[in-house]
């Protein structure tokens, strides 16, 4: 029997091929093997290319290293690029895209916010077995990793010093994947037949442990993490729901934050960025995976998603009809956090 990686990759290739052959799409976005071990990177196949060389389909892969959230790449086909505006008369390209649970929820979030056109998309759902945190693997290795091979549930690693080792995939998964509530995409146009992880608890257990910290301990943790930040904006750029044409951090007319390496500026950047994700963030960890410095953003994206869930009973979903909670309100919303001087003085 073929192993999971090869089977899933093949199924995606077949589906992409079918979409091209049926002339349903102009572009297919998936993953291809990267130039480094433990990396798969976004791949873009165009109908033109495939017509010329159908074997290009075979470059598509699906393994445990497909950490990018591909929904990020959809924005360009709609309004996000200045050039696009001038060519608005042209119909939107029809895009096929392989989506994990998180990618798929991002697509729906973007569709609700009218940043993508659901009609022009062909979502190819890939039930997700979880993606690995390369840092976790590197920590377990004494030397640089020069090659890797994934077979079913283990990853064989070859080190620079010639040694090789086998790593249990499950132990190397990203926190967001271990805790993921929606590994299986829904409301897609087709779905690959491959097993998904069992849904996780959404990080409840980790958050409860975090809640035990005092204010000062929490501050210390936040400070330690943000001290690593170099303000390269990889988190923002990797995030599918960070789609503002001009980020608040780049406003010069009204300068919200300094552009230097001041710690409080880095903090305000991240607080605001994550706050802007309230009710929109799908906790895909694209920001964390993109960060060259390994700043723990997961704790905070997870936290704000939980808060929104608890306050407004909402999680970004696969339903195009629901309203993002911060775009609406209810008379019945909690007033608990409001300071009431009369009560305070009782």
């Amino acid at each position: 029997m073929e192993d999971r990686v090869e089977q899933t990759s093949q199924a995606i290739r077949n589906e992409a091929r079918r979409l091209f052959e049926a002339d349903e799409i102009d572009v297919f976005i998936g993953f291809e093997s990267g130039s480094l071990p433990l990396s798969s990177r976004p791949a873009f196949l165009t109908a033109e290319e495939i017509a010329q060389d159908p074997s290009k389909i075979d470059t598509l892969v699906w393994d445990s290293f497909c950490t990018s959230n591909l929904a990020t790449y959809l924005l360009r086909y709609y309004a996000n690029e200045p050039n696009r505006r001038k060519k608005r008369e042209k119909p939107y390209p029809r895009v096929g895209i392989a989506v994990k649970g998180c990618d798929c929820r991002s697509v729906y979030t973007l569709a609700k916010e009218r940043q993508v056109q659901r009609d022009s998309l062909r979502l190819v759902g890939v039930p997700c077995a979880g993606m690995v945190d390369v840092r976790k693997i590197q920590e377990q290795c004494a030397d640089e990793i020069v090659a890797c091979e994934e077979v079913d549930d283990s990853i064989s690693i070859t080190l620079r010093n010639g040694e090789s080792t086998k790593i249990d995939r499950e132990k190397a998964l990203r926190r967001s994947c271990l805790e993921c509530r929606f590994p299986k995409p829904e409301n897609t146009d087709s779905i690959i037949d491959t097993p998904a992880r069992k849904p996780g608890d959404g990080g409840r257990a980790t958050l409860e442990a975090f809640e035990q910290k005092s204010s000062d301990e929490k501050w210390q943790y936040f400070s330690d993490e943000l001290t690593k930040c170099i303000r390269c904006n990889a988190c923002r750029q990797a995030c599918p729901t960070c789609w503002c044409k001009e980020c608040f951090a780049e406003h010069t007319d009204l300068k919200w934050i300094g552009v230097g390496s001041d710690l409080t500026d880095a903090m305000v950047f991240q607080i605001t960025r994550i706050y802007h994700q309230a009710g929109r963030c799908v906790e895909c960890d694209a920001c964390y995976s993109a960060c060259p410095m390994g700043v723990d953003l997961r704790t905070y994206t997870n936290r704000i998603a939980q808060d929104v869930h608890e306050l407004f009973d909402y999680l970004p979903d696969f339903n195009p009809e629901t309203s993002p909670p911060l775009a609406t309100f209810s008379e019945a919303d909690s007033n608990d956090f409001i300071t009431d001087p009369e009560q305070a003085h009782e």
């Binding site: 990267g34 130039s35 480094l36 990396s39 798969s40 990177r41 976004p42 791949a43 873009f44 990018s68 990020t72 790449y73 690029e81 200045p82 050039n83 840092r135 590197q138 920590e139 640089e144 990793i145 020069v146 620079r160 170099i230 303000r231 390269c232 904006n233 990889a234 923002r236 750029q237 990797a238 001009e246 780049e250 010069t252 300068k255 300094g258 552009v259 230097g260 390496s261 001041d262 995976s289 993109a290 960060c291 060259p292 410095m293 390994g294």
Partner: protein, 346 residues
Amino acid sequence: MSDTVGCTIEKKLLPTLLLNESKHSRVFIPKQSDGVTEYAVFGKGDTPDLEAGQSRLSPKSFFFPQTETLYAFDYDTIEPSASEEAAEAPVVLFAVRPCDSASFELLDQVFGPENHGYHDPYYEKKRDNTIVVTLACNKPGSTCFCTSVGGDPAGTRGADVLAFDLEDRLYLEGLTTKGKEFLARNGEVLKEAAETDREVANTLASSARESMPAVEYDRATVKKNLDDQFDNPIWEKITNTCIGCGACTYLCPTCHCFDICDEERHYKGRRIRTWDSCQYAQFTKHASGHNPRPTKTERLRQRFMHKFSYTVESVDEVYCVGCGRCVRYCPVNLDIREVLREFSST
């Protein structure tokens, strides 16, 4: 000590040497924490981690910090910042890798007066004040490609002292007046090297050299191709995966673009310069709204053109030292080596 034969120091005596130096200089050594290598201040009891490999952030920040105050001002006065004016203690940068020290020479050409006669006192003072002890690489990393861009794992560019790791001891050669003085004043812990030490060092260097994968890169060919194919749609294809963050530029030892801005509160303020990146949309945007490089494609092209064409034309240098940081930390594995390959065919 003659010029051709250097000296050696037993590794166990290194702390003594560094402690001596730290009496009059600020000494920085490589240290590893959480899997990240950085240059940290040497303190009593510290040992430099010579196995730590390349630092995550390039040591360019010693001369060109991410944020630097040009001058402070208040209602009546303008005062140059301490870093420019005060005679700071000299700095010893210990165990800088050859690619990074080579980058210092490239930065010198930007910030030094050879560049159109303008001094940059901030950069120059720090540079003049620093002794660079370069440690040759016995085990180049898998993403290193210095030999392809004219560097060497035992390269001497930008170094005052070149050191080789000979297991139980270091073999040291003074390259500049500063470097020779450095060795002379530490004579008591150094021994004159035997002819065999140098031979061992040479053997290590050549085996390191041979272990490095060659990226097909021919300076003239790539420059010509880049110039000829400025408008080639290939750039759009290369840019497909790029998310437009600035991680590559912030980690790059030769990238030196900066922004100047003011921070002010209560009639007091400072003018600072901070790293900036050609990858950001705002970088070249005119106040009128016109942007000469409106999309990621032009911005990414600029990065490659600058390094492999523009500087070759203007100062006859390639502004890439082959450190591989951008390869390793690009969130989407956009590999500079592959781009060079793309433009290498004749």
